[in-house]
Symmetry: D2
Subunit: 341 residues, 4 copies
């Protein structure tokens, strides 16, 4: 099988290269780039020395089975129909096909959607929640990292009406690699190290994506308070969620709901009561870990969910989606636990 | 003036040594310890070499003006009345005199209060909120770090009834130094570094302290959801708070309330709209920084507050309390902005 | 094939579990421990949840093909002959069989060697330098991390007499995981983070190991100045080496020597001139990276070598040795480049 | 007294602001900048909020007593004579006046020296070694950070001929803040964190500065092997030095030499035997710490020296130089030990 990546020089792109390079079904791997075409991949990432991976001009991407697009928003959508017409399945790690509404996209991303007519063909690629819809699909919107960690925790509970929706507080924390390889003062080592901050307060673009999927789960529109924070570490993502349980719901019921949803899942794990997720549990792997407690003093359930932002939050989930779309074993190329310590 | 410290080998104790060593009013400084009495302080902290600071047996602490106690809970209370009788002012950096109710202390700290009769003599030492009560006092309960960051943000708003109290979500993040110098696997470098986790979920001992003071501000009992997290950095603390504003309250009103409260304060700063606190703004200093926004989509105000957990969250505030108790300029020995970067 | 690990709860042990769990030839994996026998592995490392790996009493380790010993020095040697008699190949990640001289062992490790008679049966397991001797062997001494990084750089050059041996300066830097999972104040997060220090100056136990192998390469005894340092990061090791080149030797000759030695090696890479190794190039992988320059002003060659201390410096190399001993493809279970970023 | 800073927005500049803001002799402080003139300093560094510090157009710097220049090389020299003519003492934190030879400057800095005629008027401002020459001077070249840490260790030993000079190996390690506030991929958080690397191997511009001062100490030209490395931490610098002792010299003699040199120094400390410097001992302070051991096996002395690169390695030493030049107490504004932890 032939597989390609556009945007292979970014961090999510590089993680895709790492995963696909050892994926048993992938026989040929093409990297495309507009800025560094013609170079060898180790001129960007020297540790890829001796692996002989070249970078093509974006325009010269040949026919293939699957194309991953890890590009800034807007750039994927404008080329997608051309790829689909050539019979290439597209998995978009960007934001172009995550929101079903072109209006919402324009409101939050500040550009007109370049291919609104394709939105209805796209599937939201969160396998544990929408597996059947993903199988065999040709256009898959790979979820954002924050939405992935949040939705795995909340969607099952909301589908079963175990939570009230009056207030849903999602306090999220991410390692720095989520901001990508683009340089800026805000990502300068001396400014980030030994520092912790909130950013995008009440305005982060993953908000409408989370709300869309939670509204779908509960069957009516809802809003969430979502605040991302930057943690001085490279990888890892953890979200802490606060919500009021529905009348009469106890901790056991919440836990059972998760258990029913995830007991046969390879990548989602419910920790034993009292053991709280740590981001390192997921680091370098595609695994997610969940925990909750019902605080009887306040009636709030407190939920913690963790993933590796570059694996289950980006490249790992994208490969999982490819496996589903192609009919391969879902965990192909994704085996392995976290790198510890 | 003569000043002493019990528990000078811990991190808060060492920070006190640093501050008091350069404090202009402090002429003699005694360090007491049960475990390393007789040694020179640089046998514990080699960077104190050539400063000639000895450590006394705890029992031999001489008469003095002020004694700081940076001891595990329980140990201060059992000796406090003896110190007070000798005319020594006591500033307790531990938890023994923070809760006004001995029952609450026993419930959360799991021991009988060793000196319940002194609770009514103690003042809660948060100068910006209780300055007049602290002046000249002989027994001061230095607040916990999480409560300090939280109360500076919330108390003025609650006193003015600008927030509803149905749900108050306090999602807190702390650097590792807050856990002290005691070793454990959970504080082992390789387990903490590049890792982020929640701990003490729905059970942290700063919860009743926060609730006591917020209830006092609003005039009736309330509860909060408080979740602390451990950030892979040494210093710094940031809390993100979510609450519903009272009917008709706008962002400007919230901001004005803070401004009225803090405009003449040396150590509490309101950042300009859009600039969010970072823990490094406070690092190595006694300054606190605040910011908020009213999220119109949800009706929630999102508040962020940051301090250095060892300064405004411990030793710095303790020195501020000493200054107030002794009638010295409140910022004596506490001048200086953060160490950056 | 059946494989076991003694000392599976330490960091090197855990890394072995990770590698062996996905190794295609390993059908059964036994973990032994004296302290936590009977528990499930995820009680130690929660991220191994749902993988169902139990821990046996050390004494109950069944017959098997290969046993990895990741134990403190002294503990492996005293049990090795019993294992060998049962037909179990032993790969020791500790120090018991690295030094060929029992006297040297006693001098540096301060205990009498528990099985000096086995020293002549052991092979020093650095595959790139001693591949033929390792094949089929039953007792393999897995090299120390510092020696591995150093010997890969120096042995080829010394074998060819390209360096003088009057002074060999090895300035080494390691991430903290090399110190293992045992807690101590020196490994306490707040003491290590944002800190850098030398340790074991002129006294580290890897010194005689390095000297033994370099002396072997050059054919006569030599000494080295070896200074390890602790870097505030979890993984990674880098050594900087200074030596005087032999009369008339140029940079090209040094480079060619390495190239001849390593051109067919899967795990050792010569970076292009001007690109210097970074520890992250190796992180999470079994790869080593080398670079050098001849400083014409001083006549010294400056060499930099980097590995992941837990992979090529411990568990990865041990698996490579197992593959050689068993006749499997040498890179089995070790494929994959570094985790970046 | 009136004092000014050119280049106040960089890290060394900001550290100067912090030190001078609390310096008792400094009554007026002017900040100059070409890029952000007219703004308030907290628009660059928000933690300076409420301190009311404005930034002037570089050209408008008024008459004053002392001007600190923290500018890229070349920019200070071309304006120095104008400042000197106005009676302003100049302390240059850059490289323009460190090398006494304009040829050497041109060779290493690749530009013609803009004011070679001033070189003979400049003094190399390392107070512990050249105190008498600095007093009252009008043009002071503040030493580089690596040279400071190195020279404090080596100059006294070389002056007394206790070391041979055939080979002097200086293996240096620095925190990231030394690279300044300018952004680049090499300083991007995700590229630096959990990473360690050498840079500028055999080509760093501090080499001729070190050689100049060591040659002066020993009275004849010598060369050194100098390799800097980047440590994943913000502050701190540590150098490890290897040299052969002169015939018959023992460890005690080396130690006495240091002791004689530094026993009355406020900022240079000899640690007790066996206690090795850690960068945190100096962090946030102007103190330097030294240690050595004579390795009898090799005849090499191993020396470790540590400073805070932004204090004793830049702004702290600059203030020390100002105090000397102005006849104020040398430690004015520099009191205080390291921030720990």
């Amino acid at each position: 099988m032939k597989v390609g990546i556009l945007g292979a020089t970014g961090y999510a792109g590089q993680e895709l290269v790492r995963l696909l390079h050892r994926h048993e079904e992938v026989k040929e791997l093409y990297l495309g780039s507009s800025s560094v075409a013609g170079e060898n991949y180790d001129s960007i990432y020297p540790h890829w020395l001796d692996q002989n991976i070249g970078i093509l001009e974006d325009e010269n991407i040949p026919d293939m089975d699957v194309l991953f697009c890890a590009l800034p928003h807007g750039l994927t959508a404008e080329r997608t129909s051309a790829f689909l017409e050539r019979g290439i399945k597209v998995i978009d790690l960007g934001a172009d096909f995550r929101l079903q509404s072109a209006e919402s996209y324009e409101e939050w991303y500040k550009i007109k959607h370049p291919a609104a007519e394709l939105l209805k063909e796209a599937v939201y690629g969160l396998p544990e929640l929408y597996r059947q819809e993903i199988k065999g699909k040709s256009l898959i919107a790979n979820p954002g990292c924050y939405p992935t960690a949040t939705l795995l925790a909340l969607v099952p509970l909301l589908r079963k009406r175990l939570l009230q929706t009056e207030y849903l507080i999602i306090d999220a924390k991410s390692g720095v690699s989520g901001a990508g390889r683009g340089i800026s003062l805000g990502m300068h080592y001396s400014e980030v190290n030994e520092n912790f901050k909130a950013y995008g307060v009440a305005s982060h673009r993953h908000t409408p994506e989370i709300e869309q999927e939670l509204s779908r789960a509960v069957g009516s529109p809802l809003t969430v308070s979502f605040t991302p924070h930057l943690v001085p570490m490279t990888r890892g993502m953890l979200v802490t969620i606060y919500a009021k349980v529905s009348e009469g719901v106890g901790e056991e019921e919440l836990r059972s709901c998760w258990q029913n949803q995830y007991e046969n899942e390879e990548f989602v794990h419910l920790l034993p009561p009292g053991t709280w997720p740590q981001t390192k549990f997921s680091s370098g792997s595609n695994h997610a870990f969940l925990q909750l407690t019902l605080d009887k003093r306040t009636g709030n359930v407190v939920i913690v969910s963790t993933i590796d932002n570059l694996l289950k939050g980006a490249a790992g989930q994208a490969v999982q989606n490819m496996n589903l779309a192609m009919g391969w074993p879902e965990a192909q190329g994704l085996k392995g636990t976290a790198l510890w310590p």
